[in-house]
Amino acid sequence: MNRSYLFIPGNQPNMLQNAFLFDSDALIFDLEDSVHPEEKDNARNLVKQFLIANENFRKGECYVRLNGMDTPFFDQDIIEMLIPQVDGFVIPKATKDTIKQLEVVMYKQDPNHGKKIIVIIESALGLIDVEQIASRSFVHGCLLGAEDYSKDLELVRSKQGNEIAYARSRVVNACVAFHKEAIDTPFVDVFDDASFEQDAIIGKSFGMTGKSSIHPRHIEGINRIFSPSKKDIQDALELLQAVKTAEANKVGAFSHKGKMVDRPIIERSEKVIEKAIKYGLLPREANE
């Protein structure tokens, strides 16, 4: 599970060459919106050669956002990007039909491709289909693309994001139901730090597991907000210690700090510790 996903324009060497310096948990190299239609071939070669040459410098997962399946660029994107250095694909304008087609196309190219698929939910139809999309086994996560979604619904985007509350909730619900990552929309007003922080906090409060970004200045904030807090970690450690003590004393149901402890509460604490270890906030031994 990743907290942060940073989009990197696929045809800009000056941005590409710094990609591995950022602390983003995952990178998304973009072949779609940031690349002019006449430069798609240039972008494919640039991303591919960059990933091959710099394989040893990467820190997290590397995804490639492909062009839409309804474009003349998609087939070549798949052919060129099915390389071991790419962990997965990000699929724009996903609907249940495009995802079914994608499954067939990718299987044809390489039945053992093993690529993770993150879909972008960015239309009214995509949101209607999100449960069916998330249920597909090869889908790893759903990313809400609020700008295109709002455009589809002719909504005016606000910094508070009330207009995308339903979309956020529905994406999260589908992802939780099928154990997938729910990735929040990027915040596009790059230099409004206060509104960005607020937006990331709201995304997390809806249940998003991570957030995407179009600018590296947001990565620190995303990683911080989507990590368990010190208090969360301390509470979880104390609760799990209490569970151990109860088990040692052969106690069934018990209360901790005045609240009854049941299985979901224990599992939530275990998840907090798992995340804390993954993000380097706790030593690995803490889980032993």
Binding site: P13, N14, N42, L46, Q49, F50, I52, A53, N54
Partner: protein, 85 residues
């Protein structure tokens, strides 16, 4: 004469022109040529060889591109040249 062009003259990029002009010429104009001319030449020759196009002429205007950027722009220029064939 067949020709293929790729890249840009922006910082960290390179502008690459490939032709089938004979005799072969490899021209490199780089802001860091004094330090990296030989390395860039090596990338050009190995990329041409990889494509089975050792005979092609290349003009490279470099603005501080990484080896992988030079290789990718050269590959695209060669592929674009193919489109004219």
């Amino acid at each position: 004469m067949k020709k293929g062009i790729a890249g840009s003259k922006q910082s960290s990029d390179c502008y690459c022109i490939v032709t089938d002009k004979q005799p072969q010429q490899i021209l490199i104009d780089s802001v860091v040529g004094a330090f990296f001319h030989d390395q860039m030449l090596k990338v050009i020759h190995s990329t041409l060889h990889e494509c089975g196009k050792d005979h092609l002429s290349v003009e490279l205007i470099d603005r501080g591109a990484l080896d992988s950027t030079i290789k990718s722009r050269l590959l695209t220029a060669i592929e674009r040249m193919k489109e004219d064939e």
